[in-house]
């Protein structure tokens, strides 16, 4: 389960700057300059704590896995970076065990899982897709 303190602890431990930046191209941007990382957050685009948590956990997925790309990288490479970031999030914060517990507790719809994990639905979807489609895990539940 992901909490905002995980994000702050990770950034502190790895000396990653967290920089609020209005009018950024996206709600969250991770930049690597040489060996240094910084995560930019545009709070004007983040309207809820749930979305903030989603942005933060996704961005540390990029920073922790080193999955970033050049500005001119082709779409395939960008998507591969996204996949690697999502995989890191799934393996560390939305594990197979976490999902099993959620399902066993009766949370089976996407919106219910979003409530349970307090994360945006697209983050849940990406992690669930990793476990089901990439890892072949069978939860024996009807979801999505």
């Amino acid at each position: 389960m992901f909490e905002l303190c995980d994000f702050y602890n990770f950034c502190q431990k790895n000396d990653i700057d967290i920089i609020p930046f209005p009018n950024a191209p996206s709600a969250g941007v991770t930049i690597r300059d040489g060996k240094e990382y910084a995560i930019f957050l545009d709070f004007a685009k983040i309207q809820s704590t749930r979305l903030l948590k989603g942005v933060c956990c996704h961005e540390i997925g990029h920073a922790a896995s080193g999955a970033l790309h050049k500005v001119s990288s082709p779409y395939e490479l960008v998507e591969r970076s996204e996949y690697r970031a999502n995989r890191w999030v799934a393996q560390n914060f939305l594990t197979e065990e976490n999902f099993r517990v959620a399902f066993a507790s009766g949370y089976t719809e996407l919106w219910q899982l979003a409530d349970y994990f307090d994360l945006p639905e697209d983050v849940i979807k990406a992690c669930l897709s990793y476990w089901i489609d990439s890892r072949g895990v069978k939860f024996n539940m009807e979801v999505l």
Partner: protein, 120 residues
């Protein structure tokens, strides 16, 4: 003096003189030597420095040369966007020119913060 050119390039790149020397593979004391004695490094070192800052050796020796970091030719090759890797939250979208300029600003902010941290 060579040190002034070196220092100005460091400021433009957003790194300290010490950090730049380390990145280039030179000793920390060399920049102090340039500053105190007004010395100019040898050909091989000049080549490394020119490569690091993406300028010509001529520019290092003669800053009025047209191949410095502010020249049109060099601005394209030394675009700071090409020096960084990045990732965005949300669906893929191609950055337009305004977005690219914003990202350049973000990199500058990041480098300024690093520079201030190093100086503390």
């Amino acid at each position: 003096m060579f040190f002034d050119v070196f220092q100005s390039l460091c400021e433009k790149k957003g790194v300290s003189c010490k950090r730049a020397a380390e990145d280039i593979g030179l000793s920390n004391s060399i920049t102090t030597k340039w500053k105190k004695t007004g010395a100019t490094p040898s050909g091989e070192t000049l080549g490394k420095i020119a490569s690091y800052f993406n300028v010509t050796i001529d520019y290092l020796l003669d800053p009025k040369s047209s191949f410095g970091p502010n020249s049109k030719v060099d601005t394209q090759s030394a675009d700071i966007l090409n020096e960084v890797d990045l990732a965005f939250y949300g669906d893929y979208k191609e950055l337009d020119e305004d977005d690219k300029e914003t990202v350049r600003d973000m990199v500058r902010v990041m480098r300024e913060r690093r520079l201030r941290k190093q100086e503390k």
